[in-house]
Each structure stands twice: as structure tokens, then as C-alpha cells.
Amino acid sequence: MTAPRLHILVCSGTGCVAGGAFRVREVLSREIKARGLDGEILVAPTGCQGFCERGPIAIVQPDGVFYQRLREEDVPRLVEEHFLKGRPVRELMYVPPKGTSPVPKIKDIDFFKHQRLVVLRNRGRIDPERIDDYIAYDGYEALAKALTELTPEGIIAEISASGLRGRGGAGFPTALKWAACRRSPGAMKYLIVNGDEGDPGAFMDRSVLEADPHAVLEGLAIGARAVGAAKGFLYIRNEYPLAVERVATAIGQARDYGLLGKGILGTDFDFDVEVVRGAGAFVSGEETALMASVEGRRAYPRQRPPYPTDQGLWGKPTVINNVETWANVPSIILRGAAWFASMGTASSKGTKVFSLVGKINNTGLVEVPMGITLREIVENIGGGVPGGRAFKAVQIGGPSGGCIPSALLDLTVDYESLKAAGSMMGSGGMIVMDEDTCMVDIARYFLEFTRGESCGKCAPCRMGTGQMAEILGRIVRGEGAGEDIGKLETLARTLQRGSLCGLGQTAPNPVLTTLRYFRDEYEAHIREKRCPALVCKDLIRYTIDAKACVGCRLCAKKCPSAAIEGGNKKAHIIDQAKCVKCGICLDVCPPKVRAVRKFSGPAEAPSGGRPAAEGKE
């Protein structure tokens, strides 16, 4: 058998699959076969490539040509032109937001070239459903090293020297956790992979599990050796069916190869794992709640101490780490602590995976070295804010995190700096916001989220999140009162100090950071009944500039509430009592006319408003 001339790596992450990647792959194979190229060209599925916004994606190796937004109907041309005739199809290549000509090769694309891949090292180059692919890229060599060359203490020492900290949010040193569990008395110990990723807009763990499940399994087996555990559980959100499926496939393969189960790699080391599907609540990601859920009980968190390393699953010593933490382990063991520690800052080592979403050109999954600045991520990798809008803030850490304003764009990404800025690393959600985002509304959104996801066990969180959401709701409706900011701050303190688990303790962060950096927006809402970002419906109104209006009746015809009056060729007027503030009039007013204006603030002070017609996409 001869080696194929070309490898077509078709991304099969959830994003691309939703965009039709499976269909594209099918048609690809069919077209290749139809032209008799099937011996020469190999089509292989891969895990998530990260650039989800451009999916479905295919990379042609060995040249590294990057095709994006592929549709079934593009495939015959692609096969004909590129694979048969050797003429890459420029129309299917990526064009950077600020450029005009396509960038053919993946290594030249901004989104990829600033990243540093450790956890995602195998993304886009292996088929996640083939263990041989993983092994071909040094897979399970770290486990072999851990079993044959290192003692359990040696493994922990290596992890300790690497400076690896928990990637689930709080950043607890991983080696300390392992050592504590190792020290705990008891023959039965457990390991858990926390794959209950619940932050809105975050999908790092899903991608790792889908793209490289063996990396997690290998990390887990190394951890088992280190702490002396015989059983591991992978707790994966039930909403991640593809991840569950790929992990199950990987477990089966690893067992067949003697990499899980009894006598691993011919040693006397036994370790096996089981997949537990999540119970469908955000709080299940809290470690004690997660353990309750694995035990088959309601996912209620419990007080710590005792910590899981002393009394965890079924009361036995347990190490629970995030997916990404586990996936880091094999590289550290294989390449050494010094290599890992060479990346990052003094206290935050290695890399971090973020899901970069929101008002950003290059949406997707990125892995960057610790210590990189937010500016590099947003501007270089993310390609900046679309539509020429101004960057306003980036929300990091999901409902537990906070909003970091543009003034702090040069902040380095590490546990301490983010915490000092009022946010947190979190599991890696990064939501970029532009000037059209109301920060009070964002705070309200997150508090509504935590209010709904609070488990209901402890009083401060159950009712405090609700009261905070109510106050924020009043403020965005223009019903805020002078003492509301004070009340929010008191409630925030009550939640931080009084709540049982991390969910409640960190729930006020979105409010506290927006109060810290965007207090003027709160005050504009409360005092002037004005939404500076022109978002809060109750505080905005649409008017028609009589001088600009040409009386084309376009807006009046489209208005769903018949609020626009005015005859042909006469200036139109919006009846504010009837207006439902849907903004359709603004959207349909022809760009040459631009007579519809959007304002917020008291009617007698229209200067407070900002004409918002230009730049609407």
C-alpha cells in the first residue's frame, strides 16, 4: 500500500458538524472515488480545529491549505480543481476581516499563528476515534514513563515543579490536590474528570473531549498512578452527545490495547474508568455537587471541609480536576516540568484554552500561553471587533467572572491579574463586547442565569441572586432608585460571604466588575433613565428626522404596531405610545436617507442620545 498523496482533514467538531461537515465529508469521499483518486487521497475526520466561526473546515496536507465555510456544492469543484488539477480554489479560502486577498495556508492565518498548542496539540491532525493516530503522536508514552520510570511521588513532584494549576476556574495547584489525596488513608480512592462545562458561551472541554479523548484518559491514568486510585469517572454533560460517544469509543480502544483495566502495559497497575452523564444543571459542575450527582443523588453542593481529597465520592478520598487540567498531564510528564514551566508567568504556567466568542471577527477556540495580554487575544487572534465598532469590554470566566474594560486590554492573562481585576480565569469563556452592549443589561443577564441555575439549597444564593436580578431588572426598565447600587453592593457581599458554594460566592462578580468599571452606566440608567448603549428597550425611543425623511413609507409599511404616520412624500412621525421599539424602522430606512434616529434619555435632552443609524450591519 502506498502512502496517500494528500490528506484531507475534515473538522468534525460540534460546530462544523452542525454546519454540515458530515455531509461535506461524505460528498468528498464520493467525488474522490468517482474520479478514481481514492488510493491517492485520504479523507480523515478530526476533532475541533477551533476556528468554528468559519466551519465547516477542511485542511489539505501536506501543503497546509485551509478551506473554510464549505458547502456540499463546493466539493466537486474543490476535488476537480485542487486535488485533480492542482489549482487551489481561492474562493473557498479564508479572507481576513481587514484584508481583501485570501490567505491560503493555515500557518499564515492570524487566528492560528499566535496560538500555542499544548492541550490542543492534536487538534486537526488526528482522528479522535482512532487510538493509533493518538499513539502515532507519542500518545501513551507519558503513561509508560509514569509506570516504568517514575514513582508516584516522582509524578507528583513533576506536576508540582511544572506549576500546573486547576483549569476549572479557581486555579488550585494540581500537585497539592494529588498529594493530599495520596496522603489520605484508605484503600479505595477515586478520580473524577469534571466535564460539566456550563458557562454560557464556553466549549473548551467539549472540544478537548471530542478532539483528543485519549489525552484525558492518559492524564487520568497517570493521576491514578500518582494518587493510588483504581477507578476514575468522567462526568460529561449530557448535552455533549458527541463527546460522550468519542470518549466511550476511546475507553473501549484503550481497554483493548491494555492501556486501561487490569495490568496496564504489563505492569501490576490496575485502573479503569466509567462515563457518567451530567444531570443537566449548571451547579453539577461544582465539585461536591458533581460527586453527589455521580452517587445518584440530587446535585446539591455540600460544605467544605471535608475536602474531596479527604472525603469525596462515597466518602472516599477523591481527586477531581477539570478536563483541560487532565489533558495537560501527559505533555508535562513526557516533556518535563521545566518545558511546561517555561511557558507563562511566575505563578501561572503553561497555556490556557479560551472560547473566544461575542462581538469578535474570529470566533472560535484558542489556546494561548499564560501571560499573553488580552489585547493580543482580542486583536491579533480574534481579529478585532467587527463592523468597525469600538471594543468595550471582555467578559471572562462566565457567570462567576467579570467584565474587563478596554482600559485594561493590556492586562496579562494569569490567575492573579484576572482576580485583581475583579474577574477570574474561570473555565475559559471569553465574551467580547462592543460599544453596543449595555453593561447593566449584561450584569442582569448573568444574574438571571445564576438565579435560574442556583440549586436552591442555601438561602443567600437562592434568594440573593433573585433579589439582585430583580434590582437589575428594575434598573434596566428605568425604575431604578438611588439606593439600588448600595443594595446591590450589600447583596453582593452577603452572597460572597454567606453562600455555601462557589456558584453563590462568585455570582455577584458580573455586577461588581461592571459597577467597578462602568458605574456611570448604572448611574445614567438610574438618575437620567438613559441607556448609554441604547440597548435597554424601556429607555430608548426611535424618532424620525423630519428634515431627512423623504416620505418613502418603507418604515410605515414594515412597522408591526402601525406606530408610524405620514403620507407619501411627507415626513413621517413615530407615535411613541404605539411604538414597541423593535427597531425595524431603523433597519429599513435606506442608507442614503438615514432619517430614523435612536435615542435614550429625557426627551428634552436629545443630545444625550446618539444617532445610531450608521454602521448597522
Binding site: A281, V283, R298, Y300, R302, Q303, R451, G452, E453, S454, C455, G456, K457, C458, A459, P460, R462, M463, G464, T465, G466, Q467, E470, K487, T490, L491, T494, R497, G498, S499, L500, Q505
Partner: protein, 823 residues
């Protein structure tokens, strides 16, 4: 040493900081803490500051450690508590809690109390016994910062005994946790999440359909009025309290009584009860009030004149009774009294039968007690072996063997102790036709056909002794696969205890079950605890032994036969009317608390004081002697049974007979009954509590179990084996299931439970009316379908008082045919 608020106190084995603080008089407000439950740490009011720890720690969930420095009362903590309590109150009707007029409201209030919807304390049934009120007081909350968020959820009123109002719930979870952790039932659960969280049942079904046994533990744990006893809702607060021992089964729970207007307003399990320690069951919790306060109470002596029972004075009634009995001698007369009779009453019954009537026909209940059977077994095998296991031993056992019992329903305190043991990791082996606690991982069940329990125990004992060859009797329906597993469990866990339901010892297989139990207990090294039914069965057995040494009395069956054949001419029927059957003697004197059809047929009716009115002494199933006083004056002119019989005896035998006061009676009893000799030592007026003195020596060796062939094989026309269990829902002659509506809905008397496969074969559905016929008798009942009953078997709870049903009960196991009845 732990330093709390600057005071160094010894940790002294306190489980939590909260407990330690309370012990030292330091008040920390708390709403979700409960001494019997694991820490929940949900209300967050007991947060304290611990030096050297990040964040605050809940005192209820923190173990005191040597050297800990704790502050419970800092400015921050006070503020935080006010805030958190304020948040809790946003969902709870709180108008009255923070009302400026609170202090003078009690004198001046014009509001209607006990409104349909609770909007403030003055309409709340829990007013002034509410933990939340106390905590508001302690925290010093006087105003509300946040707007009320009244939840306006539906109040669940459809279930018996208590209502569930989620609008006053503060989600402390005590009800959910007591149901799971203490009662092992998990009927109540949290549903939904966040602000929508409520305490509910699975799929929000009624409690009646959720496996609830209405023990009331949740009601007693509730700190607010969210779970509230319906009958008490519209009543004033009690003006007095009392204490009693529950007479409704043989466990001996101590109950607290709330009294008002000379009536029992409510009864609650007492935390000081040595047996029950704060737990009880539906009967002790909800039926005392309905039973002693029933409109069917007999309040004055009556004598039959011209076919009608007319009220007369005591003197006249007693004179007439004495004259009627004077016409007969010896075994022409008989006394049948109920197993709920106190030691005082029963002692006088025995003395009366022996010394006044000269009759050997006296029985305390329709069934020979398990102790009588036990002693018979001993006699047959040349020994008298004592039973020394106690209910407390269950909780400390590693292995518990349960034979034939439906513990959670019939012996709920034993079940609570079993749950306690299982929570600790103990294992449970059950044997019998029905697996009562199926689904618990701690349990191994050995299934057998009804009446073959002895064969199952025998097979298990043999397996335990390493005998893997002996064949398992095929006819017993025993699944061999569980035998090995059960033997493993039994071999591993010491100490062990064997619990034996006394109903198994009725019928012809009774002695075999006892023998097989003895052999198994012997092989395992387990103590045996028989679980009796009547409140004083154990005590009555001791009295009988002492009054008639050498087993001269005859079991109740002789009385029944004597009545049928007409040899018994005159009968004293004391609270046992239900056990009489259809036959009537020439003279029937009923001494009873409640009217029943049998009492209404009597010639002379003498009103009896109920247990709350007479006081007395019971010996529970483990041999614990517990005295209790009278909490109330008797209904009408009723008198305690011992007093009535003393007066009657005096009329017949002269002034030397009988007793005038209970202490004197107890002193006599102590002197003449060796097992009860400690009864006199307690100072007068205080309730005695001790274990009866057991005598006897252990039997040597194994007892042959005897024939293990099918005991009740009948022809193909009777393909089912019916196991009849007494419904056991009486107090004396008062049928609680029939008279107390809510209780009737719970016990569903007259149900015939069969296996789903048999239901298909018989073409019957749940609720269909069927006839169950044996070669001797037949009963009707409604079909219930449960996979817990093996194929070919049927189970029914039958009433002692109904002649047809009694026939099944007396045999316990009957071959039957089941036929669907058409209307």
C-alpha cells in the same frame, strides 16, 4: 480546648461547633440544624468566623478541633445574619414578624386567627411555636430591606392528617432529610431548582400514592407551618401537657400530649422516650386524639332492660353483673381481655379469674403471644431460654436478619433502628414471601412461599454451616441464588440480631419458624428479638406465668370453642370485643372504652378509662417496663379496668378482694411476679422504666425444625397460598381504620395483594373485587398488584373482628382460590 468568643471550652466530643456553643450557653441562630440529622448547612445563619480560615464556616457543619479560635458574634456576622434572614423572609409571610404593633397585638388584635391563607403570624397555626419567630427575635430583625416575593404556590390539602403549604416553607430540608436519613423512606424530596425549589414528592403526586406512611416525623421536624397537622390547625394553643406510653403496638413509644379543655389536642413522640427517641408512627402521632376523644366513647354504666341498654349508677350495674356471674362456676365463666390492657388491669383480671371465678379460661388477646409459643418450644426441648436482645441492639448490629416482618409498617421503631444501622453500613438479610425494603443496596432478600419461612431459614442455616449439598426444598419457592450471598453477609457481620414478626408464630407452622429462627440465630451468634403486636403482650405473658404456674390457663381458642359449643356461659369481655367471633354466651359483661357491635350486644356495659385517663404500666416487646400516669380525667364516669374488676370481685367475693390504689396494686404485683419485682422499687408517682428480669438458661444445641414438606398443600382447585396478617388497627374494640377516615385511606383494609403475573392469569386489575375462598371460609377484597408478592402467593391484611377473616388469621396460611366477582 476550643475558644468561642474568648471563652476556652473543652471540645468534649461535641460533633459540631453549634452543639458545643449551645452546650456552653452561647446562642447561635440556626434553622436547618437538627440533632438527628447530618449537617445541611443551607440556612447559613450559624456562620461563624474561625481564625486562620478563609471565609466563614457554618457552626452546624464544622467539627470542633483543638486550638480552634471561633467568633460567633462579630459586627460582620450580625449584619450577615440580618441580611440572610431578611432574604429568607422575602418568601415567607412576615408582616407580623416585623410589625411595630407586634408587642401589643396579642391584646388588641382584631384579625381573624387561622385564616385559609397564612399572611402573617397571627393567622398562622404555628404561631408562638415557630422556630422562625424565635430566630427573628434572636437576630433582632426589625425591618425588611427587600420586597416580598410571595410564592403563591398551591397548598396541598388532599392527604390525610397534615397539609403542605409551600408558601411558608423556608427549604431547611429537615422534612426531606428526616424522611430519608431517619425513616429510610425518601418520600419527600426537593424538586426544581433555584428560586423555584420546593419540597415535593416524586412527580408531585399525593403523599398517599408516594409510599408515605404518615409517621409525622416531617411534621415534627418542620420549623414553620409548612407541614402542619390539620386537626390542630384551627385550635387554640394547648393549656397543658401530659405524657403517656402509646398502647397501639408493642414497641412502647413515649408520647407527649398537648391538652386543652380536658381533651387531647395532639400527641407527639417524645425525645425523652427511651425506645422511640423522638420518633413515632402514624398511630402514635395522629390517632391518639381521635381515639380517646372519639364520640364512640362509653361514658356511663348501662344495663339491658327490655332489650335496651339503659344508663344506671355504678352500684346497680356492678350488683347486677355480680349476680349474673354468680349463677356459674369455674370454666363456665371466662375472661377475655385485650393485649392493650396495662399490667395493673391484667393482674387484676388474672387474680379475678383465678380467685373469684375459679376459671382457667382467661386470655389477653385472640392469639397466643409469641412468648407463650417460645416458652412452649422451650418446654418441648427441655429448657427455657431467655430473649435478651433489645431494640437498641438493632442500631449497633452489623447484620440484621428480619423474618417475615413488614417492619416499616408494623414495627416502625425497629425499622428506624434498622435504618440507623444501615446508614452506618450494616447489612440486612430478609426472609419471607415479600421483600419489604426492596431496592436498598444493603439488603439481601430470600424469597419463599408463605408458610415456608422456616424452610428458608433452615436452608440458610445449613448454607452457613458450610453445607452446600443439602437441596433447597423445591416446594418452598426459595431462590437458591441469594442463599450464598446472604450466608456471606451473615458470616461477615457481628454483632447480629434476628427480628421475628410475632404473627409468624400463629398457625401450625409457628413452632417450626421459632425453631428455625433459633437454629439460625445460634449459627450466626445473633440475639433474637420477637416483635409482638399488643402493647402489653410481653407483660401479660409474665403475669399469666406467675398467676397460673405450670401453664394451667388455656389459649383464647378454648374460649372461642367454649362459646361455640355453649360450655362457656358467662364472659367478661374487657376491650377484646373484636376477638369474640359470632357466638354469644348467656351472660356477657363488656368492660370497654368504645362502642362496637359486640359491645352493643352485651347485657351489661361498664365504661372503661382509656390509657390517657388511667395511666398504668406496659412491658414492651423487648421486655422494657414503662409506667405512665393519667394525663386526663376519665370520660364520663369511666373507671380503670383494674378498679372495675376490683369492685366487681368485691361484690362476688367480699371486701378483701381487689385494690383501692394503683401503688398498692403494683406493690402486690412486684411481690407475686418474680419478673416484675423491680416494679415496687420506684418511688411512688414516678414512672418506672426497667427491663423485666429474665430467668432461664440457653437451650443447648440445634432444635429439629421438623417436617419441611408443604404445610398447606391442597388440591388443584385451590392454587394459591394466602398469607393472612392481622390488620392490627384497633385500640381495644375501637376500629381505627373504620372510624378514623384518614387512617382508613392509608391502611386500605381488605386488600388482596397478588403478583402481576397472577393478575394477568386471573384477568383482574387493581381495584377489582375478588372472592378468596379456602376449603373452610371465604372473604371478599379488592385486588392490589405488587411484584413484591411471589407468584402463586397472595397476601391480605384481615380484621380479627370479622368471623370469616378470623378463620384465615387463626390458620395464617391457607390454600385458596381467587375468583373475580361480577356485579
Amino acid at each position: 480546648m476550643v475558644t468561642i468568643d474568648g471563652r476556652a471550652v473543652p471540645a468534649d466530643g461535641a460533633a459540631t461547633l453549634l452543639e458545643l456553643a449551645r452546650r456552653n450557653g452561647i446562642v447561635i441562630p440556626a434553622l436547618c440544624d437538627h440533632p438527628d440529622l447530618k449537617p445541611f448547612t443551607g440556612c447559613r445563619l450559624c456562620l461563624v468566623e474561625i481564625e486562620g480560615r478563609n471565609g466563614l464556616a457554618p457552626a452546624c457543619g464544622t467539627k470542633p478541633e483543638d486550638g480552634m479560635v471561633v467568633r460567633t458574634d462579630t459586627e460582620e456576622l450580625r449584619g450577615l445574619r440580618r441580611e440572610i434572614l431578611g432574604l429568607i423572609l422575602t418568601e415567607h409571610p412576615h408582616a407580623c414578624l416585623i410589625c411595630a404593633e407586634k408587642a401589643s397585638c396579642d391584646d388588641l388584635k382584631s384579625t381573624i386567627r387561622k385564616a385559609g391563607e397564612v399572611t402573617g403570624c397571627v393567622q398562622c397555626p404555628n404561631n408562638r411555636r415557630c422556630d422562625l419567630q424565635d430566630v427573628v427575635e434572636a437576630v433582632g430583625l426589625t425591618s425588611m430591606t427587600y420586597p416580598a416575593a410571595f410564592r403563591n404556590l398551591e397548598v396541598r390539602r388532599g392527604d390525610p392528617f397534615f397539609e403542605r403549604d409551600p408558601n411558608t416553607c423556608i427549604l431547611c430540608g429537615k422534612c426531606v432529610r428526616v424522611c430519608e436519613e431517619v425513616r429510610g423512606n425518601s418520600v419527600l424530596t426537593f424538586a426544581f431548582r433555584g428560586g423555584s425549589t420546593v419540597v415535593s414528592t416524586a412527580m408531585e403526586r399525593p403523599l398517599l400514592d408516594s409510599g408515605c406512611r404518615f409517621c409525622g416525623a416531617c411534621v415534627d421536624a418542620c420549623p414553620t407551618a409548612s407541614l402542619f397537622e390539620r386537626a390542630v390547625k384551627s385550635q387554640p394553643l394547648p393549656d397543658g401537657t401530659g405524657e403517656t406510653v402509646c398502647p397501639f403496638c408493642a414497641q412502647g413509644c413515649r408520647l407527649e400530649l398537648g391538652l386543652g379543655n380536658g381533651r387531647v389536642l395532639f400527641s407527639r413522640p417524645s425525645r425523652e422516650g427511651p425506645v422511640n427517641r423522638g420518633q413515632g408512627c402514624v398511630r402514635g402521632r395522629f390517632l391518639v386524639r381521635e381515639t380517646v376523644g372519639s364520640a364512640r366513647r362509653i361514658t356511663e354504666p348501662r344495663v339491658r332492660r327490655d332489650g335496651k341498654l339503659v344508663a344506671v349508677a355504678w352500684e346497680e350495674a356492678l350488683t347486677e353483673a355480680a349476680a349474673a356471674f354468680g349463677r356459674f362456676r369455674g370454666d363456665q365463666t371466662a375472661v377475655l381481655f385485650s393485649p392493650e390492657a396495662t399490667l395493673e388491669d391484667a393482674f387484676v383480671f388474672y387474680v379475678f379469674a383465678r380467685d373469684v371465678l375459679d376459671s382457667t379460661l382467661i386470655a389477653g388477646g385472640a392469639f397466643p403471644s409469641v412468648w407463650a409459643k417460645w416458652s412452649e418450644l422451650g418446654r418441648r426441648h427441655g429448657g427455657a431460654f431467655p430473649l435478651r436482645a433489645t431494640l437498641a441492639d438493632i442500631a449497633s448490629a452489623e447484620t440484621i436478619i428480619v423474618v417475615g416482618a413488614d417492619l416499616a409498617v408494623d414495627h416502625p421503631i425497629a425499622w428506624v433502628r434498622v435504618v440507623e444501622a444501615m446508614n452506618r453500613g450494616a447489612r440486612l438479610v430478609t426472609a419471607g414471601p415479600v421483600s419489604r425494603s426492596a431496592g436498598r443496596s444493603e439488603m439481601v432478600h430470600i424469597e419463599c412461599l408463605p408458610g415456608r419461612e422456616h424452610a428458608a431459614l433452615d436452608a440458610l442455616a445449613k448454607r452457613l454451616e458450610g453445607d452446600r449439598k443439602s437441596p433447597v426444598p423445591e416446594t418452598a419457592g426459595i431462590h437458591a441464588r441469594n442463599l450464598g450471598k446472604a450466608a456471606e453477609v451473615l458470616a461477615a457481620g457481628k454483632p447480629a440480631i434476628l427480628l421475628l414478626d410475632s404473627y409468624l408464630t400463629a398457625g401450625p407452622e409457628g413452632l417450626r419458624v421459632l425453631a428455625a429462627s433459633w437454629n439460625l440465630a445460634r449459627a450466626v451468634g445473633a440475639g433474637i428479638l420477637p416483635l409482638g403486636r399488643g402493647a402489653n403482650e410481653r407483660g401479660i405473658f409474665e403475669l399469666e406465668r406467675a398467676a397460673f404456674p405450670g401453664e394451667r390457663t388455656k389459649p383464647a381458642a378454648f374460649i372461642a370453642d367454649g362459646l361455640e359449643t355453649g360450655t362457656v356461659k358467662a364472659l367478661v369481655l374487657a376491650g377484646a370485643a373484636r376477638e369474640l367471633g359470632a357466638a354469644r354466651p348467656e351472660v356477657l359483661v363488656a368492660i370497654d372504652t368504645h362502642w362496637s357491635p359486640q359491645v352493643e350486644a352485651a347485657d351489661i356495659v361498664l365504661p372503661s378509662a382509656a390509657f390517657t385517663e388511667s395511666g398504668g404500666t406496659f412491658v414492651n416487646t423487648e421486655g422494657r417496663v414503662q409506667g405512665f400516669g393519667a394525663a386526663l380525667p376519665p370520660a364520663g364516669s369511666a373507671l380503670p379496668d383494674w378498679r372495675i374488676v376490683s369492685l366487681l370481685g368485691r361484690k362476688m367475693k367480699g371486701p378483701d378482694f381487689g385494690f383501692d390504689d394503683a401503688p398498692g396494686l403494683r406493690a402486690r404485683m412486684a411481690a407475686s411476679v418474680p419478673a416484675l419485682s423491680d416494679l415496687a422499687t420506684g418511688p411512688d408517682g414516678t414512672a418506672p422504666s426497667f427491663f423485666i428480669r429474665e430467668t432461664g438458661t440457653d437451650l443447648p444445641g440445634e432444635i429439629p425444625v421438623g417436617d419441611s414438606g408443604p404445610g398447606s398443600a391442597a388440591g388443584p382447585e385451590y392454587p394459591f397460598v394466602l398469607a393472612a396478617r392481622p390488620s392490627g388497627v384497633y385500640y381495644r374494640s375501637f376500629d381505627q381504620a373504620a372510624e378514623i377516615r384518614g387512617f382508613g385511606r392509608l391502611c386500605k383494609p381488605g386488600q388482596i395483594v397478588i403478583n402481576p403475573a397472577d393478575a394477568v392469569r386471573l384477568r383482574v386489575k387493581r381495584g377489582d373485587l375478588v372472592e378468596v375462598a379456602s376449603p373452610w371460609a371465604s372473604v371478599d377484597g379488592r385486588v392490589e398488584i405488587s411484584a413484591q408478592v411471589p407468584e402463586g402467593a397472595a397476601e391480605a391484611r384481615l380484621a380479627v373482628g370479622k368471623p370469616g377473616e378470623w378463620d384465615f388469621l387463626r390458620r395464617r396460611i391457607s390454600p385458596v382460590a381467587i375468583r373475580r366477582m361480577t356485579r
